[in-house]
Symmetry: C2
């Protein structure tokens, strides 16, 4: 399994949860403290922190601590892995459509 495959496993799995996707969406508007993020989520703090750690472990977010405040920031490059994979799929579909079209328009060249 290629390195990128393993990364994709973790990124897709991390995104398979509405709370974690909510954090990603919120951080898309800019960095936020763990405290502020937790305030938006109807969930006990320890459970919420697990989600934060999952996102951090897959490098979808990065956190820094200043004093008692831990700030989270989105790592868009990591989400780009998913976009890249989807683009590859779309390219394969387009190639298939092109082949089918060629077959229909030039049947003699495709016995």
């Amino acid at each position: 399994m290629a390195l990128q495959d393993e990364s994709l496993d973790g990124v897709f799995a991390a995104l398979g949860d509405a709370t974690r996707r909510g954090v990603i969406t919120r951080l898309g508007r800019g960095p936020a403290s763990v405290g502020d993020l937790a305030r938006d989520v109807p969930m006990a703090l320890p459970s919420f922190l697990k989600h934060i750690r999952t996102l951090e472990a897959t490098d979808l977010i990065r956190t820094t601590k200043a004093g008692r405040v831990r700030t989270c920031e989105l790592n868009r490059a990591r989400l780009a892995l998913v976009t890249g994979w989807l683009d590859e799929q779309r390219q394969l579909w387009d190639e298939r459509t092109d082949r089918l079209e060629q077959f229909v328009t030039d049947p003699e060249e495709n016995p």
Copy 2:
């Protein structure tokens, strides 16, 4: 949790596995039988069938049986859920960039 959220959970989770992503990629070139798909994968058939069932349960693929052959087909509409979510995120980032630019170019209008 909205209905779409639950669907997204399943779709993202299903894509968090290289074998299942490989099936999606293969089916992007056109429908294939379970037997043909299994031949490409160095894995015991029962394990592989579990992956097929996971993909079917999330509606990423659909299968039909004719005689003894079960054929799998990609359901691209389901993958579009992921594309749609990513597009939403990108839109949020763009809006944020626009706001930042406006702040830099018109600082007086943004006290």
